[in-house]
């Protein structure tokens, strides 16, 4: 896992912060969430795993301590599980959406749905094959944290967000400039 992630809150500036969450793939789950290394207790579990295990008492325990979040796979149909997500809103400090490969854009729509439809206000983290050139798009659809693929250069990543300062469609962060102009003009 990456020691640092890019954090870009909606009304803030992009910065590097320490990564406190470990992404677990849901494998080797004989005894629930395994003991993870790095003394990190905070774990992002696969959403499908959460669906089957979230009633277990040990999971509830750890979730109550704020140690469990979920990540959505690109092919998770999150609208099908709206009730579980609604319930999860009070439990998960962080959620993530996964890019199996950088050119698979499904998680862009997942993030947009989480923000628009589920009104999720906490962190939405991009994980998986996240490359520098996805950051700007991700930030606009609803991601506010990015765990870049380990080979990516964080300093170059940090500079991506203000490359394009105008927008011609609404996004999670801002109203399109073509309507904002109205306020300026009139």
């Amino acid at each position: 896992m990456n020691k640092q992630i890019i954090y870009f809150p909606k009304d803030g500036k992009p910065t590097l912060i320490i990564n406190k969450w470990q992404v677990w793939d849901g494998e080797r789950d004989a005894g629930g969430i395994p003991n993870l290394d790095h003394e990190l207790h905070k774990v992002l579990v696969p959403f499908h795993w959460w669906i089957t295990h979230h009633k277990n008492s040990d999971i509830i325990d750890r979730a109550n301590k704020g140690e469990v979040g979920v990540w959505f796979a690109a092919d998770d149909d999150i609208l099908k599980h709206a009730d579980i997500i609604e319930e999860g809103k009070n439990r998960w400090p962080v959620i993530a959406a996964h890019f199996p490969i950088f050119r698979d854009g499904r998680s862009f729509s997942t993030a947009a749905l989480l923000r628009e439809r589920f009104a999720w206000t906490g962190e939405v983290r991009a994980i998986g094959d996240v490359l520098i050139d996805q950051l700007l798009k991700g930030a606009r659809v609803g991601f506010d944290a990015f765990e870049l693929r380990p080979d990516q250069k964080l300093d170059i990543g940090l500079k991506q967000f203000d490359l394009i300062s105008v927008t011609t469609q609404n996004s999670w962060r801002d109203q399109r400039a073509t309507t904002v102009a109205q306020l300026v003009d009139r």
């Binding site: 854009g105 862009f108 606009r140 394009i164 300062s165 011609t168 309507t179």
Partner: protein
């Protein structure tokens, strides 16, 4: 013509900087080629057989003389002195260097042009009627909607990595000149007093496309108020982005999703998503506003037309000398279209002179000269057609003769518009790395075979479209006669389809049988045409004769020499 304001200009300027940085990172090795590929494609940069190719957007086909001069300049400075106008209202430079593309983009940005989303798995350049705003059969000028949607789709963050490319076409005339039903989304604009208080509405067709599975789009929504297009199209694309197949390149287009779900179910899913997006709270934010409409529509007002009288069909050719009159009349018939405003006409400049290199090619000298013609005769504006020709939309009828004479000097006055030699063809094996066969030599051989203008004229409207592979860039499926390059055991063969049609009666052609060698194609064409000439009734166009007779007589004729040819390419 639309003029960028500071928002558009800032966006394209910053885009140049962004792409320059991406190219630099590619060149210094910090981006791998595989990862750079979608980035460059979203900027129209392909890697072709021999070199990089840059595809530049000409949104809804509209171009200023100044822009055309810049394209000519780019062709000279960064390419080999020519460029290629495509079926989707783009222009392609075939021989550019990766290192120089940021500079080319900077040149383009100076004249309000770009290459954003001309390729890649995103919303592509939006196409429309080349005669928008002037066509006599137009009921709505589609250009403000085209422009609003151009802006909406430009660098759209959610739809930057769709399962496949995504193409919009928009029509507002009685006759469809956009091949509406062959697009991922076709938007038909309407003004019906019974819908939305007579305000502009849109009918939405989804799931059309060509390629290896040609399908015509299905109507999925009627009477959508224009203001809600952003939320409706967001819903539509979101359904596609989430559920379009990504496991198989050939099944990833929206047409496959629409087909597998059925248009009703697809429409229902879009409706479900839209119902959510289209609630009152959001509506106020997402809908196109009157202000935005005014912001763009003010650029699509009519140019400063003179008060003129319509000239009669006899009066126009009367100005020509007797020696010129025949040829001029022919050009008037084929290359000049009627106009909304009395005393004006629209002129099509043919980029298909017989025997040239490629349909749709123009040299930089031609581009500069045509730009001058646009300034002189058509308010400094031009259009690019789906058939790969250029249009001067606003020409005074009394100046047609002068213009014809000037166009002849540039070899763009051939009166073959809509005729057999007005061939749509993709670059094929000469340039394209995906090709199974060459298409340009086939086009050239057919033009050489049918070089007699009197004969062509007598044959009347026939569309002939050629693609070098099943990707169908040459739109062979919708040609009355289609030619498709196929590969058999490493050899180039050509398959013929008949009965395709674009326009209001759009249809997909049918394969007539086994494929042919390249050198057989001119004879096959002659045989097909002979059947038509023998069987037609008075004034019956080729496609009607074909529909009346069916494929059999044509098929028989095409194969009558079968086996008598030795295999071979064209000389």
């Amino acid at each position: 013509m639309y003029k960028y304001d500071h928002i558009d200009q800032t966006l394209v300027d910053q885009r140049v900087i962004q792409f320059r940085d991406q190219v630099e990172r590619r060149l210094n090795g910090t981006i791998a080629e595989e990862e750079f590929r979608p980035l460059r494609l979203q900027n129209g940069l392909y890697h072709q057989r021999h070199a990089y190719m840059l595809r530049v957007a000409i949104p809804y086909g509209l171009l200023s003389a100044k822009q055309l001069r810049t394209l000519a300049f780019i062709a000279d400075k960064y390419d080999r002195g020519y460029a290629h106008f495509t079926t989707r209202q783009n222009i392609q430079f075939n021989w550019v260097e990766l290192e120089q593309t940021p500079d080319i983009l900077a040149e383009l940005a100076k004249v309000e042009m770009h290459a954003i989303q001309t390729s890649g798995n995103c919303i592509r350049n939006i196409t429309s009627d080349a005669f928008a705003g002037v066509a006599a059969d137009e009921y709505i000028d589609p250009r403000p909607i085209c422009e609003l949607l151009r802006q909406w789709s430009t660098l759209h963050p959610e739809f930057a990595h769709l399962p496949r490319k995504f193409k919009f076409a928009i029509n507002g005339a009685k006759e469809d000149r956009t091949v509406l039903l062959c697009h991922d989304v076709g938007i038909e604009l309407k003004k019906d007093p019974n819908i939305n208080n007579g305000e502009l509405t849109a009918d939405i067709y989804a799931g059309g496309g060509m390629g290896r599975t040609p399908i015509l789009g299905s109507l999925i929504k009627q009477g959508l108020p224009w203001q809600v297009l952003p939320s409706y199209l967001t819903a539509l694309l979101r359904v596609y982005n989430r559920f379009g197949r990504r496991d198989n390149l050939y099944k990833a287009r929206i047409k496959i999703l629409v087909k597998s779900l059925g248009p009703e179910e697809f429409a229902r899913q879009v409706e479900g998503e839209w119902a959510y997006l289209h609630n009152e709270a959001k509506q106020s934010k997402d809908n196109f506003t009157k202000y935005e409409w005014e912001r763009v529509a003010k650029h699509f007002t009519k140019p400063a037309y003179q008060q003129l009288n319509t000239m009669s069909d006899e009066a126009i050719p009367a100005a020509a000398t007797e020696a010129e009159r025949g040829a001029f009349t022919r050009w008037l018939k084929r290359n000049v279209k009627s106009h909304q405003v009395p005393g004006y006409a629209s002129v099509i400049l043919s980029l298909k002179p017989h025997g040239t290199v490629a349909p749709g090619d123009a040299t930089s000298a031609q581009m500069n000269a045509i730009a001058d013609l646009a300034d002189q005769y058509s308010f400094g504006e031009l259009r690019v057609t789906h058939e790969q020709n250029l249009v001067l939309a606003d020409v005074e009828q009394s100046k047609l003769l002068e213009l014809w004479q000037a166009a002849k000097q540039q070899h763009v006055a051939l009166p073959n518009i809509g005729l057999l030699t007005d061939i749509i063809a993709c670059p094929g094996g000469d340039f394209c790395s995906l090709a199974n066969a060459k298409s340009l030599p086939i086009a050239k051989a057919i033009q050489e075979r049918f070089d007699d203008l009197d004969y062509l004229f007598d044959l009347g409207d026939i569309s002939l479209n050629i693609s070098g592979c099943i990707n169908s860039c040459g739109h062979h499926h919708v040609g009355n006669i289609g030619v498709l390059g196929v590969d058999k055991d490493g050899e180039e063969w050509y398959q013929i389809t008949l009965g395709g049609e674009q326009g209001n009666d759009a249809s997909i052609g049918k394969v007539i049988g086994p494929s042919f060698y390249a050198n057989e194609i001119p004879d096959v064409m002659t045989s097909l045409i002979n059947v038509y000439v023998e069987q037609r009734t008075t004034d019956e166009p080729f496609i009607e004769t074909y529909r009346r007779l069916g494929v059999s007589p044509f098929k028989e004729a095409a194969y009558k020499n079968n086996g008598k040819h030795s295999k071979g390419a064209l000389a």
